[in-house]
C-alpha cells in the first residue's frame, strides 16, 4: 500500500514537473510581450495614457537574462516611433505622461534582452488622452467633505444664534479654581505656559480662552500670574488676554505687563528658563496648556519637585504620558479644546465641536452595526451562503482610497 502511494505520488510529481517545464525554446530566443493595451488614464487632466501588457516568457525575474520593456509611441499606426519610456522586467504597466490631451496615439511594447535585442508587440491604438471633469475615484471623499462641512457649519450657525449647546463637565476645569485658590492661600504666584505652540495652532487658541479664566480668578484673589513665552506673537496675544481679564473684576491696577514675558525661541533655552522661574519663584500652581514637545517632561518634573499643583493639557499625544504622570490633572487631546468651549462658550468652537460629535456618534453606531453585520456574514458564509459577506466586503471597499 505504502509503495503504491509512493509511486502514485512520484507520478503526480513527475506530471506536475512536466507541466511546469517551459516549452522548449532555443537559447537566446526573445519573445514579445502579449496582449498590449493602451487606454486613456482615468481621472486625470488628459496628460497620460496607460499602457499594459502581459509578460514575455523570457521575463522570469532574472535581470541578467531579461532587461525590460521599451514602450514606443507614434501619432500614426505606421510611425514614426519615439521611445516613450522603459521599465524593468517584471512590470506589466506603464503610464505615458509625455502626451497631449485630444491627440491620437499608437503604442507598441518591446521586450528587450540584456544585449539590447528587442522583440516588439503591437502596435495598438488609437488611444486618446482626455481630461475628466470629475475624479470618480474620489466620490467617497466628496461625500465625507460635504457631510462634515454641512454638520460643522450648521452647528456653528445654530450656536451663533445663541442656541444653548450642551458640553459635558470636564474634570480638570474645576481644578483650575481650586488651584488658584490654593496658590493664593499659600501666598505663591501662578505660572502659565503655552509650550511651543504657535498662534495658528488650534490648541493655542483654546489655551488663550483658559488663560483668560485663570487670569480673572487671579485678579479676584490678587494672585500674581507669570506667563513665560516661547513665541513673541503668542506673548502679545497673552498680554492682551490677561489685561482684559484683569479689568473684568475691576482690578486693572494689578496687571503687570512684565509678568507676561518673552524668554527665547530656543526649545531647551525655553525649558531652562521656565525651570529657573519655577525653582526661584516656587509657584503654588502651574498650568501647562498648549502644544509641547520634549521640553514638557523637563518642565513638569521640575514643577512636581517644588510641590506645585499642576494642570496640563495638550493635543501632543507623545507628551501626554509625561503630563499624566507628573501633573495632578491632564486634559487629553480634544478634551482641551472642549474645555475652552466650556469656559468661553465661543459659538465657533462650540458649534464645530458639536458637529464633530455628531459625526463621531455616526461612526460609533456604524462600527457597531458593521461589527454585527460582519459577524453574521462570516457565520452565514460558513453555513454556505456568501451573499451577506459580499455586501459586507463591498461596503468596506467603498472606503478604499486608491
Amino acid at each position: 500500500m505504502k509503495r503504491l502511494m509512493a509511486s502514485l505520488l512520484l507520478i503526480a510529481w513527475w506530471q506536475a514537473a512536466a507541466a511546469q517545464e517551459p516549452a522548449p525554446v532555443a537559447p537566446g530566443t526573445l519573445e514579445p510581450p502579449g496582449m498590449v493595451t493602451a487606454v486613456d488614464a482615468p481621472n486625470d487632466e488628459g496628460q497620460a495614457v496607460n499602457v499594459s501588457w502581459e509578460r514575455s516568457p523570457q521575463d522570469a525575474g532574472d535581470a541578467t537574462a531579461f532587461k525590460g520593456y521599451r514602450i514606443d509611441r507614434a501619432p500614426d499606426r505606421a510611425g514614426p516611433w519615439t521611445e516613450a519610456g522603459f521599465v524593468i522586467g517584471g512590470k506589466t504597466q506603464f503610464q505615458d505622461t509625455g502626451v497631449r490631451a485630444g491627440q491620437t496615439y499608437f503604442y507598441r511594447v518591446a521586450a528587450v534582452a540584456p544585449d539590447d535585442r528587442a522583440a516588439e508587440a503591437g502596435p495598438v491604438g488609437p488611444a486618446v488622452p482626455r481630461a475628466q471633469w470629475f475624479n470618480t475615484s474620489r466620490v467617497n471623499v466628496l461625500v465625507f467633505t460635504g457631510l462634515l462641512s454641512f454638520l460643522i457649519i450648521w452647528y456653528i450657525e445654530r450656536a451663533k444664534r445663541g442656541e444653548p449647546l450642551y458640553i459635558r463637565k470636564i474634570q480638570g476645569l474645576d481644578a483650575i479654581d481650586d488651584a488658584v485658590g490654593r496658590a493664593t492661600e499659600m501666598g505663591k504666584p501662578i505660572l502659565y505656559s503655552f509650550g511651543l505652540g504657535e498662534i495658528r495652532d488650534i490648541v493655542t487658541v483654546a489655551s488663550l480662552a483658559i488663560l483668560r479664566q485663570v487670569a480673572v480668578r487671579c485678579a479676584e484673589h490678587g494672585t500674581e500670574l507669570l506667563v513665560p513665552n516661547w513665541d513673541p506673537i503668542v506673548m502679545a496675544a497673552a498680554q492682551e488676554t490677561v489685561q482684559q481679564a484683569y479689568a473684568e473684576p475691576g482690578r486693572p491696577d494689578l496687571y503687570k505687563e512684565g509678568n507676561i514675558s518673552f524668554l527665547t525661541t530656543d526649545q531647551f533655552g525655553y525649558a531652562a528658563g521656565v525651570d529657573g522661574m519655577i525653582v526661584r519663584q516656587k509657584p503654588g500652581a502651574i498650568f501647562f496648556l498648549g502644544y509641547f514637545y520634549a521640553e514638557a517632561l523637563i518642565m513638569s518634573e521640575t514643577g512636581h519637585s517644588v510641590g506645585a499643583i499642576q494642570i496640563a493639557g495638550t493635543t501632543a499625544i507623545t507628551q501626554l504620558p509625561f503630563f499624566i504622570a507628573s501633573c495632578d490633572y491632564t486634559l487629553i487631546g480634544e478634551e482641551m479644546l472642549a474645555a475652552s468651549c466650556y469656559i468661553k462658550r465661543d459659538p465657533q468652537l462650540l458649534g464645530s465641536l458639536k458637529g464633530e460629535d455628531l459625526f463621531k456618534a455616526a461612526l460609533i453606531l456604524g462600527f457597531a452595526a458593521m461589527a454585527v453585520m460582519g459577524t453574521a456574514s462570516v457565520i452565514l458564509d460558513n453555513g454556505g451562503s456568501p451573499g451577506l459577506l459580499r455586501v459586507f466586503r463591498a461596503i468596506g471597499e467603498w472606503f478604499a482610497t486608491v
Binding site: N43, D44, E45, G46, Q47, A101, A131, Q132, W133, F134, N135, R138, V141, L142, T145, L148, S149, I152, I153, I156, I199, R200, I202, T204, V205, P232, I233, A236, A237, T265, F268, A294, L297, I298, S300, E301, H304, S305, T315, I317, P321, F322, I324, A325, S326, G333, E334, L337, Q348, S352, L353, G355, E356, F359, K360, L363
Partner: protein
Amino acid sequence: MKKEIPLLITFLTGVIIVVTFFIPHQPFGGMQQRLLIWYSIVLGFTLLLGVDNLLRGNIRRMARRQAGWGYAAVLMAGFVICFVAGVVSLARHNSLIALNGPFMYVYTYMIVPLQATMFALLAFFIASAAYRAFRARTLEATLLLITAAIVMLGRVPVGAELWDKLPQIQDWIMEVPQMAAKRGIFIGIALGTIAMSLRVILGLERTYLS
C-alpha cells in the same frame, strides 16, 4: 483692508485647493500644481523669520555691553563661522552638502554634537522624572505604568531573556489595544483639523492674522 485682503487670499487659495482635488480638467489641475509650487517657495522664507530677531537682539547686547554680552558674541561668532563655511562650500563645490566642503565640517563637528547632545540630555531627565513622578497614584497611572514596563522590557533583547513570552505580549499590546486607542484619538484629531481648516477657509477663524 488690513484684514479683508488676507481673508480673501485664504478663502480663494483654500477653495481652489479643495475644488481642484475633485476636478482634474484644465485649468484646475494646473492651477493646483502652481499653487503648490508657490506654497513651497513662500514657505522657505519663513525659515528666515526668526534670524533677524535673533541677530538684532544679540548685536544690541554686544554693542551695549549688556549682561551676558560675551555669550552674544559667541552666538554671533557661530553664525559667522557657519555662514562663511556655507558660502565657501557653495562657491567652491557648487553644493552646500559636498562632503569635503567646509560647511560639512562645521555640520559634522559642531551642529551634530551640539544638537544630538542637547537631546541626549533627555535620557537623564526622563530617568529622574520616572523616579520622581511615576507613582501608581491612581488607577489610570497604574495602568500606564504597567504597560510602560511591559513595553520597555519586551522591546529590548533582555526582555526575551527574562521571559520568552514578553516580546510577544509587547507586540500584541502595540498592535491591538494601543493601536485601537490611537485610532480613536487620531480620528478625533482629524475631525478637529477638518473643522479648523473649514473655519479658516470661511474666514471664521482669524487668530492667525494677529
